[in-house]
Amino acid sequence: MPRLAADRRHPVTLVLNGRQVTAEAEPRLLLHDFIRHVVGATGTHVGCEHGVCGACTVQLDGAPVRSCLMLAVQADGADVRTVEALAPAPGRLSILQESFREHHGLQCGFCTAGILMSLDAFLRDNPDPTEAALREMLSGHLCRCTGYTPIVTAALAAAARLRALEPHHA
């Protein structure tokens, strides 16, 4: 790849929620700003912009990462999943989302998109997590409303429902 000049916009191509997207970005453009402002997918929220709060967490090639600690140009060629990918159909929630609603795992909802993206990957790799492991993983997210207890309850309930659906994971 040639050196990309600071004062120009360059094409960036990535797969966003299963759809290939090409749009332009200056080298300094952060990935979340590319997703939100250039592509227009505003489900990903932006909190602290320095890697502390976890609100902007997306999955990059399947792994949860902070989209504020990544440039759009770095994600060229990558597979990115955001909260928009979770619901199976318009008007229907995923099991994880449904569980958050049922157990009051969110209040203002600002941190939720990031937490869901971490949990979606975490529960795939750890279908039957201990509460301690879950809490340690959630330490990468700040929620100023819930006190985390309903989030933990929602996550454990979702894990149980997902295990019941796919018993080979248990």
């Binding site: 790849m1 600071a6 890697g51 440039l71 770095q74 971490s118 990468g140």
Partner: protein
Amino acid sequence: MKPAAFDYLRAETMDEVLEALRQGGSDARILAGGQSLMPMLSMRLARPSLLIDVMHVKSLQRLSEAGGRLTVGAGVRQSRVEHLADLARLQPLLAAAIPWIGHMQTRNSGTLCGSVAHADPSAEIPLVLLALEGSVHLRSRKRHRAIVAEQFFTGMMATARADDELIEAISFPLARPDTGYAFREVGRRHGDFAIAACAAVVGRTAARLAVGGVADMPTARAFPLPADGTALDDALNAFAWELNARDDLHATARYRRELVRRLGRQVIEDAVRHRDALTPRKEEAA
């Protein structure tokens, strides 16, 4: 918070990286996992004119166990090492410390070499590298060299790396027989910067203790064994004072000294137990 403008080069070969570093000098910065550099760019504490992305250079993805060492290339993310099936056997200290680096979400991106390059005084990987007497492998257009950790870290976020050099890899000695390893850390919350972190490597006759989060850089000392009695307490106390702890927002100097004394003793004792669990003494084995 948005970074100031810079050029971006996604390097695909080592030659490209080294040539860009040679030309760019101190205005160029290596971008690997970005978990330390990106916040500095966004806060504009760093304003390089060029970022050289090294994550697509194949040779820097090397993660290998050879010659009694675990060698970790510049492109190897923390989560990849964390999930090595036999990490606890290869190098137990690394296995114990990695879960303390940031969070799962940052370890999925951050690299071990990046943490060493950043040289935060409270970071876990520099501490472990120092405790194990590991090495930093540097390469520039003109030369390549290996420096032991003790000589690599020179101060608060300062290292012996020259502007035109890339940290190509770091290497950790593999676990030795008859040796125990232990790690402990105290922070405000899991994933926060360490207020103090201690790593111990204990053989039959001596212990090596490294402390992070207290002085300007991780610092190690040798301590005589056995670990019981007041001689160790006195030595730990002297070490705690030597580190010149300072008060800050997170903890007082006095609290940090107390952590060095207590965590220091705990990790040495943990490492003695670890050693004895792995290699029972002859009379016990008989």
